[in-house]
Subunit: 531 residues, 2 copies
Amino acid sequence: MADRMSFWAWGLESEEPTDADRNAMANQLSERYGVEVTAKPIPDLADAELRPPRITPPDNLAEFCFTDTYERARHAGGAHFTDRTRAFNLDFPNPPDVVSHPRTEGELEAILDWCHEGGHAAVPFGAGSSVVWGVAPPDTPTSVTIAMDRFDQVLEIDETSRAARIQAGVYGPALEAQLKPSGHTLRHFPQSFRFSTLGGWIATRSGGHYATNHTHIDDFVESIRMLTPNGWWESRRLPGSGAGPSPDRMVIGSEGILGIISEAWMRIQARPTFRATAGVVFDSWYAGTDAVRQIVQAKLWPANLRILDPAEAGRAAGLEGDQALVIIAFESAELSQAAAIAAAVEIARGAGGHIDDDNIVIDDGTGSPTGHEGAVGEWRRSFIGVDPGTATSMGVLADTFETSITWDRWPDFDATVREEMGRVLAEVCSKGELSCRFTHVYPDGPAPYYTWSGMGRQGSEISMWQEVKDAANEVVVRAGGTSTHHHAVGRMHRPNAYDVQRPDLFADSIRAVKRTLDPNGILNPGVLIDP
Amino acid sequence: MADRMSFWAWGLESEEPTDADRNAMANQLSERYGVEVTAKPIPDLADAELRPPRITPPDNLAEFCFTDTYERARHAGGAHFTDRTRAFNLDFPNPPDVVSHPRTEGELEAILDWCHEGGHAAVPFGAGSSVVWGVAPPDTPTSVTIAMDRFDQVLEIDETSRAARIQAGVYGPALEAQLKPSGHTLRHFPQSFRFSTLGGWIATRSGGHYATNHTHIDDFVESIRMLTPNGWWESRRLPGSGAGPSPDRMVIGSEGILGIISEAWMRIQARPTFRATAGVVFDSWYAGTDAVRQIVQAKLWPANLRILDPAEAGRAAGLEGDQALVIIAFESAELSQAAAIAAAVEIARGAGGHIDDDNIVIDDGTGSPTGHEGAVGEWRRSFIGVDPGTATSMGVLADTFETSITWDRWPDFDATVREEMGRVLAEVCSKGELSCRFTHVYPDGPAPYYTWSGMGRQGSEISMWQEVKDAANEVVVRAGGTSTHHHAVGRMHRPNAYDVQRPDLFADSIRAVKRTLDPNGILNPGVLIDP
């Protein structure tokens, strides 16, 4: 049997941790937190008891519709801590009744028609990396997952315009593999890259790992083809347009409530060959963030411009824990980046940063990547690596939340978040920790990304996590941030976050658009807006 | 009396051409086209016969509502050739009944409420530079213009975030004058800069005169405050967000049909001091456009990257008429642009361009602007200068149209446009001419801007122009372009252009949004969509 996605861990079945890995982790955690932690054995899906499907697809859909336990369990949720904890515990209270994998636009039309006519909730599904409860079936009488993973081809490459027509269900690595032979890249690398799709990126306004200038998927979309219950929506391929509000910007971020993206023309790029990287150390977190502000406002447009706070720089980049690390990197397919990195480092030094000239790595086109050595390299490996589930269901609470805020409110925003999160972590868990880095930086403000963890009680992970999340949602929006900068809204960021933040008339407007495109309200109900 | 806008010419009353100017122009035209041209005397508004106002505002609005002939004539249309020809002829068949100039948000609410409750069409008006019939009153039983020119203040400057809260009715020069003391600029300079407003730029997706990277008003909007008939819509100030579809992107380009923008937080910039400019000559138009493609795809992000075709380079930049001119310019507040311009010039030379090293002008921070000498300087003066109306109503037909197209369809697109326009110009006028330049350039395609003129019959200018315009609308969209890249849709680009181009379901969606925000359908009816 071909390797397939684990139904509970982050990654493929072949990458699942073993019981031995988990027993070792349990011992580590027991020592670290001073409580007894036991490693429940890795679950066997054969033991899961799923509610029987409440509907059966008609014969004409049978060839690409599935109701077996693996398919329904795999598509019962996303990749969030809570999803993985539930799956590990074989807790599938609300799996989809049917999981479809349409292979053609005809099949996509057929399955959506069936949902539309039967009033079955239809949940578009890319690769399932949602960490915001964006792909779990809603609490409706019936539900059907529409998994797009067979729409996995780069259909056309326009080398002159540097654009490609790409099917929505292609996973990150397969997309890049198809672009590489012609020397191109989409150059969009969210942390979920391995297990996320183009359509998912567009539907959730994904942020790539590049820190400045064009990095969001929004910037790379040239046109979109989307199926709605009322028919096809296709925008014209254009490099730029001032003809009314942008149709694409209505789709980008719509999280599957307006239609299912079938394919898109995307702006691609020549693969970079010139690189330059520097890691600059700061004795103070806020001196470091101010350096980042000065660099981004100089409009040098570095490919990477991040800062790790002392806790994160200690944990992920091998620093001592009392210094912040600013990572600066430039890339180009055309030109040496030596002058650009020198200018950025000069600004960083002027703002109090330390770096030896020897530690500025410049690669003028040899093609060997920079940024793999020293503290920067250590951070890079930590960024790419995601624990597949070695500690799942052992009482550890852990999550991230991310936002953006204008510079004038930083660092007060950070202080407010830390105070509130410190309070709730102390209440809910033991040895709670919080750290922060910037994932993206704009001339008018940073996108701070907070990581927290602490020890809860085994078996109560989800309810304890919820207490912390409620506080995080509330404080981020109260202090002026956005409920999400690139993780999307889903159902998780709704009531006390997104619903507080967006203009009420905008929510009314999106509801009106949804009624127009999806009159029976079948598409991903409960995500983004209430019906 | 203070200088005020001419009711018929482009500019202030003090800048109107004189009868002597116009007589001289008539002689020139007679010679050039070999027909007899007469200069009708400059009109006196006292001779205009306007339909009496069909409604009277209630007392509480009287202080900021006007019904005098100047106000109603001045606000009867925009700045297009057809508007100015009609105004010159004192032809005002459908002036607004009332022109309001609210001074506060309270007054704005009061006037919009009155329109909403009475069912009076409400036309938001910035400075009236629309060239697409976007501010003319619709053919409705009653109409009220809501002129925003008293909302003319920069209310707040956030120097840390480089952002400013700015009222929507401020004209370009007043906006820049208020930002300048703190060393900032919005750096958004559409050709209409002197007589257009921030709110108008946002409502029409204005393009600045910078050619690459961030130049569209879309990129500078941080948040928007807008009044709709159903209440206030205000987005949160954020440097970036992935929380659902962007509320601002629904407003940007909405052309006054969803609400009236009151103010916006805008991203501002440090004033540039480093500059570099080069004009590169090409023996072939398409060799030049290919050089432009290569430069923009190198992602050097020049502030200016334009090409004038041989006709335009001859007329506007003093070249011989058989060579194209590529204008390249870089700007920065922080860094020398010498390396960047060298890299761009190298690409241009590799693509067949000619320039002496002596003609590359580099200014490393002295603050004296480059780009004012030679062919580039000549083009710059021609760009800034707009004929105020010296030739109005003398039978000359003249207009521009602009679009964007992906590189793979260029130059075929250009050939198709030239063929069709050549055909229609030959049919409609004598000595018809067409020229082209790029106003903006993207990695995936250019934004070509066509200028045409020819001699028609005096008195029949508008109907003859319409024949040419119909052909231009049709060919641009048929050949794959957008109906407008930065002039907006208005009513002029509707039936055979925008309506063909946009997804039908998107038009349905915008209609649904409009019904939500403006249930009585009073805001700018007929612009963008039919009710």
